[in-house]
Symmetry: C2
Amino acid sequence: MLSGRKKALKFDEIGEFGFIESIKKDCNTTLNDVIKGIGDDCAVFGPYSGRVLLFTTDMLVEDIHFLKAKITPYQLGWKSIAVNLSDIAAMGGRPLVLLISLAIPAEMDVELIQDIYKGMKNICEHYKINIVGGDTVASPDKLIINVSLIGDAKENEVLYRSGARPGDSIYLTGNVGDSFAGLNILKKEIPSTKSIASHFIKIHNEPKPLIETGMAIAASGLANAMIDVSDGLLSDLGHICKESGVGAMFFKSKIPISSELKLLASRVRFDPLDFALSGGEDYLLLLTVPESNIKDFEMLWKDKVASPLYLIGGIRQKKGIKMVNDDGSIEEIIKRGFNHFSPSFLDT
Amino acid sequence: MLSGRKKALKFDEIGEFGFIESIKKDCNTTLNDVIKGIGDDCAVFGPYSGRVLLFTTDMLVEDIHFLKAKITPYQLGWKSIAVNLSDIAAMGGRPLVLLISLAIPAEMDVELIQDIYKGMKNICEHYKINIVGGDTVASPDKLIINVSLIGDAKENEVLYRSGARPGDSIYLTGNVGDSFAGLNILKKEIPSTKSIASHFIKIHNEPKPLIETGMAIAASGLANAMIDVSDGLLSDLGHICKESGVGAMFFKSKIPISSELKLLASRVRFDPLDFALSGGEDYLLLLTVPESNIKDFEMLWKDKVASPLYLIGGIRQKKGIKMVNDDGSIEEIIKRGFNHFSPSFLDT
């Protein structure tokens, strides 16, 4: 979908400065604290007192993280910022400003790049954040997008991967595996009807990072550790365990899987649990809450968040991740996380 | 120089996480205000009160901004951060923390990437800044480096491109054109002996951003506008004029050209002024100072900076950039700045 238009203006016909002029408008959606956005050597914003800054970056490379034919330019723009927002959500932070670096093949249509920016500007408007600059360069062949995002938070509210303690309950904020189903449908590794396909593809291509949810959890002070589910549930739970020096046990029956995924799996004959545990790119939140806070936490959730919440297991002193099967038997789980270098996980 | 070693460990053999482990050490050179560096979803640092943040990014793409055979891995690492530091210097800011995104071809030697990081870590140590995270991904073919850098400054000290006023004097902090000579020697468009070549290539591949100088200028409050010379003197002077809504006049005889460049030019028969005016990547500072501050400014320079300073011309109400020739005649200069999309300016 990133190709195929004819007679359109080409990127090398307007050049870097012409292009920046063409995308400058609407990059600031909240101007109050941006002193200088696009148009100087650096963006200038703030000052922010008594808060810490959060700073994150993600690079999306054509043919590695996306295939031009499998994502619309609008979705690509949306997603390139969404993945960064999810990192801020994972710390309980408030996103503020971002920079966009683009390496663009000379023969690429300008309209298409502007469509990418439309997706970027829409997600910025949605989350009330500002594009304050970036770098636009030529690329010999592939389209490359790098987004760097700054957020902030109250220092004592930030939630790290390293905070999990034995006895904590492990919560997940939504169904896992749908995004990976979308990826497999896009890659035609799973056959699907058009209407079913669009459900899963939308989840994969237009993730909705849980900023408000992350901030509510952080502000409550009730959780011990948090991460976003981007590499895959097992892999990300593994990150929490490793950084916290603990282990975990979870119940197979408690892993939240959507009815749509179950239906698709029964038709196409794959195990939806595989997708749920190892798929990745769900952009949900995975967090741990100590025993003493569980009542307050579940009450807070009901009152303030009102979205799904799943208790899937608990943190243990003993290292390793174990799964409790439906019959009560316990098996050691081999970490099967998202691997950017594995072609079988080629992203779209 | 980025290729050619045999039997070395390949990047896809250790993967993203293995690689991150291998480069994690020494990424923080000043730990005091970094609460969390590499190892979580976001870096956390600060808080900084009463100051504004500066945020900049630059992307370097193989075969566009550098050629593997023309720069050492160490230099590539150094330069990828130097170009960002120069943007902070241009605002008069203090650099603080940075994120590095790398897209790495699977068959690339790990040792080579570690050499890139050596250059990165050395420049960070030199400038007392911290690498606090990043993103490491696979690339289908080219090596891509994106650096995002945060700095800060006192709000009323930040120097913008837009501050130049008619009557200001225009200063330059060093010789221009040497970097472009280095580029042309690397591309074999200029023949050169080995010792002469190494002088110019080092300037091109290992720029020294003028952080201290920029901070001293900003703290003095004596300048009106500043920019770093990265696109080329004319192009960057053009940026100041455009953003300030003014014009400029400069003296041909006052453009600082090194004796090395003059000698090379006389031997190879090119006009060193072309290189000086349009070459780019000098990473010097170009600034304007109002009449009333000139005495204090030149005194400050003598006392605190003690590096070269060249008065090259003045800012005028009337738009456009004019050059005064040695015979007193005046010619309108066509802006011939660095164009990232022009193959004749292909960077190394």
